[in-house]
Structure formats: C-alpha cells, structure tokens
Point group: C2
Chain length 86, copies 2
C-alpha cells in the first residue's frame, strides 16, 4: 500500500469515526433537541453516493471508509428520529 492510500484511509477513518462521540452522547443523554435531523439525513445520502463513486473509481479507501460511515450515520439518523419521539 502506498503513502497516498494510507493517507486516504486515515482521512476516511477520522471522518468515519467522528460521528461515534455524537452517537455515544445521544445514547447516554437520550437528548437530540439541538441536533439537526436534516444535517444527518443529507450527510447519510451523500456518504451513500461516495460509496458508489468509490466503486466506480475502484478507489478502496473511499469505498471502505464511506461504507462504515454510512452504517454509523444511518444509526445516528435512527437515534434522532427515535429520541425525538420520546
């Protein structure tokens, strides 16, 4: 693996794991009032498109990191919808 691939993976890992503290915070507090559902909905849609882009370009760092990111952001969207109702 070349340096640029490592950089891509590291950039992707940062962006990917970034949502975890937010998920953790919502899980602990059960509060989502200040969080924008629209933000996480558009983000999830965009990340899904990045996965397609990565597949078409055969760009592994983009595929792998955005697939995980998609999963985490879908969970975040679910949390917001779930705790907004509560």
């Amino acid at each position: 693996m070349e340096f640029i691939d490592v950089l891509g993976f590291f950039a992707g890992i940062c962006v990917t794991i970034s949502v975890i503290p937010q998920i953790w915070k919502v899980w602990k507090t059960k509060k989502v009032k200040d969080i924008s559902l629209l933000t996480f909905s558009i983000l999830t849609f965009g990340v899904a498109l990045w996965v397609v882009y990565g597949v078409l370009k055969n760009d592994l760092p983009i595929i792998v990191t955005n697939s995980i990111s998609l999963t985490l952001n879908l969970l975040m969207v679910y949390f917001i919808v779930y705790y907004e109702k509560e």
Copy 2:
C-alpha cells in the same frame, strides 16, 4: 466533465452542505448542549486530510467539496465552543 466526476461533485456537495442546517439551527437557537464538540473536531481534521489526499491524487471533486466542507465545519466548531461558554 465525465459522469463519474459529476457523481463525485454531487456526493461531495451533499456531504458539504449537510452541516448547513446544523449551523442554521445553532445560529437560531444558540443551543449546543446535545451536540458533540469531539465529533465536529475529528470531522474537521479528517476533512482537512481529505483535501490533502485530493491534492496529491489530483482529484478535483475531492479537493473542491472538502475545502468548502472544511470551512463550514470550522465555523461549526467555533459555534459550539462559543455557545458552550455562554
């Protein structure tokens, strides 16, 4: 511009603009209690690395969209820090 570039730009635009409703919400409510500062800090750092990745790969959709994303997320981090103090 090829289809794949258009797709990349569109994916990037979605991810980039996604933070705008969150910025708008914080601007209006002045409340950031439920938002994770760590999430937006790691995200901003990761997006900065994507810009470097894009430059090294000479990948225009990645460079352009992540540069705008970087600006918006820096603003978001500033907002969280500013309104947390209030």
